[in-house]
């Protein structure tokens, strides 16, 4: 009888330790998950900011200003345009 009790006690202690460990692991995993969630959110924000930046730099008016000003570009003159195509070979 005493032997059985001792055995059960050992099993109980083992189970208890197992519970503590798994709880600890669960919490750790949860904080990891939380961190990744935050990262996802931050990346989304970053993406928005980059989109904003891309739109600002790529603003048509700015592109045109640089093209005509700094690069000296202008729309092709009609007289210097030739159409190429199956049916537009004028």
């Amino acid at each position: 009888m005493a032997k059985l009790n001792l055995l059960l006690l050992a099993v109980l202690v083992a189970c208890a330790l197992g519970l503590v460990t798994s709880q600890h692991k669960a919490r750790k995993l949860f904080t990891d998950l939380e961190r990744e969630h935050n990262r996802a959110r931050e990346l989304d924000v970053e993406y928005g900011r980059l989109q904003l930046e891309a739109s600002t730099w790529g603003l048509h008016a700015r592109v045109e200003r640089i093209a005509t000003g700094a690069l000296g570009m202008r729309p092709a003159d009609a007289r210097r345009t030739r159409l190429a195509g199956r049916d537009a070979s004028r």
Binding site: A26, R27, F30, T31, E34, D44, V45, G48, R49, Q51, L52, A54, S55, T56, G58, L59, H60, A61, E64, P75, D77, A78, R79, T81, L83, G85, A88, R90
Partner: protein
């Protein structure tokens, strides 16, 4: 041998029983107490316990982005911080005060006033950029806190201001598309219950009370490049003609999508410190004006539909004036007689008035009503104007005559542009959309294909030399369109020297793809005619748009001669 003799004291039996009873009673009390705590007060106690370590935290939801038809961002929300304080708790050293004032970019006096107020809570500044917020946080001033918020940025600035509208300080839509699509754009913040440890780290998620719903991204039909082109051309024209205001709209003929919509004067939605009502008005959609001659093609179409006339039928317009009920209708180019085509080409008031008088007023009202005049366009846009179209029973003959050339009726530029889909789409009227559909729209047949094509041919004549708007022509594509130069109404009478110059047209005329309508309010330069003020804006934007959309040419790429001698004038 007695007990006493053996040194033993014999206790009375009741004492042992008494002790037993007391112990039993004590156990009883404990049991009752535990039953009371466990069964009766359990909820309260659990709540108290939870309050020690479990917290409800808010899960922020972001507002949806607004994109143009190519996927470029037009409006994006990014997180910022609001700095707030509990004035009673704030302790500032002189140095800290100086730094805080500099970081917040506020007046020292204003900061002092806020910090000495008797309130429990004051915002020191809202929508502070993240890096500034971090600098403020490192000052570690007691009693000053930060709260995360979102701020909306509009990279297009004034170019897209009127279409997009803007959001308030709490990121809710207040104008334009932001307001119209508030339900889908606006996110709903969620909340969840968590267990936090002593340091404030979340250690366990207990339950999600409400999942955060982020706003849905919205893709508009607007083309960023075309929008920029349209705004730039309009702004330049308004400045060059010293006009009060202007509006422009570009429609895709096949899909009914609005590709560009701009107004001048505009505003910068990123910095709305000093705004006037004039800047905020989305004139294209909310402002009504008398369209003038741009309405003549509808009168002509109706006459053709009646079957009584053909484009070649001649109408007597001598002597260039028509007097009815004390009101004289005049032509700028008087002629003895004109064909129906010439009435449109030369923009004859007398001719169109005579055509209208030969038609029943019901049918005229019916056409105007069916093309959407007098009904607010179903754009879902806040403040869309319906226009004024009086019931035909109240029309006097002179009113019917003036309405034939667009006076006595008022509409918005978007209504006018939409009505022109009739001529661009072989008689069909299409519903408009500000949201990208990408699919061809099915229209409602209003006039016959033959009539629509005949009017289209006349509209093409109007932009040729001898018409009212040769300056609307572009190299490489055939263009069709009509000018308008209407006197402005002021206090119920027409002002002699105030005009609204307009031009509505489409291209390529062989297979129309794009309708552009331009309106310039009170041009005060040397010119005020639609053909010289509004038509150049049209041609500039149309040419750029057709090139952007890679529309095949339907005319030789010859340069357009800048000859103004052949330009016909008009008075409406």
């Amino acid at each position: 041998m007695s007990a006493a003799a053996q040194g033993l004291v014999r206790l009375p039996v009741w004492r042992a029983r008494f002790v037993l009873a007391v112990l039993a009673l004590a156990f009883g009390v404990l049991a009752a107490r535990s039953v009371y705590l466990q069964a009766m007060r359990t909820e309260f106690l659990q709540e108290r316990g939870d309050a020690r370590y479990s917290r409800v935290i808010e899960v922020p939801a972001t507002r949806g982005r607004i994109l143009d038809r190519n996927g470029d961002a037009l409006a994006v929300s990014t997180p910022v911080k609001s700095v707030w304080a509990i004035p009673a708790d704030v302790e500032l050293t002189r140095e800290q005060r100086r730094k805080l004032t500099a970081l917040l970019a506020v007046e020292p006096a204003e900061l002092g006033k806020k910090l000495s107020s008797a309130k429990d809570f004051v915002f020191l500044k809202r929508q502070v950029p993240p890096d500034t917020a971090l600098a403020i946080a490192t000052l570690a001033i007691p009693g000053i806190y930060q709260h995360p918020e979102y701020r909306r940025y509009y990279p297009g600035g004034e170019i897209t201001a009127h279409v997009l509208g803007f959001t308030g300080v709490d990121d809710g839509g207040q104008e334009g598309v932001e307001l119209a699509h508030e339900a889908t754009l606006g996110g709903k913040p969620g909340s969840r219950r968590v267990i936090k440890d002593r340091l404030g780290h979340i250690v366990e998620d207990i339950e999600s009370i409400r999942a955060a719903q982020s706003g849905v991204d919205l893709q508009l039909s607007i083309d960023g490049k075309l929008q920029s082109l349209a705004y730039g051309a309009l702004k330049a024209a308004v400045e060059a003609n010293r006009a009060k205001a202007g509006g422009i709209i570009a429609l895709d003929v096949r899909t009914g999508e609005i590709l560009a919509l701009a107004n001048v004067p505009s505003f910068n939605p990123n910095n709305r410190a000093k705004l006037t009502g004039a800047q905020l008005r989305n004139r294209v959609i909310t402002d009504l004006f008398e369209p003038g001659s741009t309405l003549k093609p509808f009168t002509v179409a109706l006459a053709l539909e009646s079957g009584k006339v053909t484009p070649a039928t001649r109408v007597s317009t001598a002597p260039g004036t028509l007097t009815m009920a004390g009101y004289t209708i005049r032509d700028v180019h008087p002629a003895a007689s004109m064909s129906i085509s010439q009435i449109v080409q030369k923009s004859s008031n007398v001719g169109s008035a005579k055509l209208a008088l030969a038609l029943p007023r019901e049918s005229m009202w019916d056409l105007f009503n069916r093309v959407g005049f007098g009904t607010a366009p179903a754009l879902g846009f806040p403040g869309a104007a319906a226009g004024k179209l009086h019931p035909y029973k109240s029309w006097k003959p002179v009113e019917q005559a003036t309405m034939a050339y667009g006076h006595g009726i008022s509409l918005s530029l978007v209504q006018l542009a939409r009505a022109y889909t009739l001529f661009a789409r072989d008689g069909e009227l299409v519903p408009l959309s500000l949201v990208k559909t990408g699919a061809a729209a099915s229209g409602e047949k209003v006039i016959s294909t033959e009539t629509a094509r005949a009017v289209r041919a006349m509209l093409e004549l109007a932009v040729q030399p001898g018409g009212t708007a040769p300056r609307a022509r572009i190299s490489g594509w055939r263009v069709a369109g009509k000018t308008g130069t209407a006197h402005k109404q002021e206090n119920g009478a027409y002002a002699a020297d105030k005009y609204i110059a307009s031009f509505v047209g489409f291209a390529p005329a062989s297979e129309p793809r794009l309708i552009i309508a331009v309106m310039i309010d009170e041009p005060a330069g040397s010119q005020h005619y639609g053909g010289s003020v509004a038509a150049p804006v049209f041609s500039q934007v149309m040419q750029g748009a057709l090139r952007l959309m890679a529309v095949p040419h339907d005319a030789p790429l010859d340069p357009i001669p800048a000859d103004e001698a052949d330009e016909a004038r008009e008075s409406t």
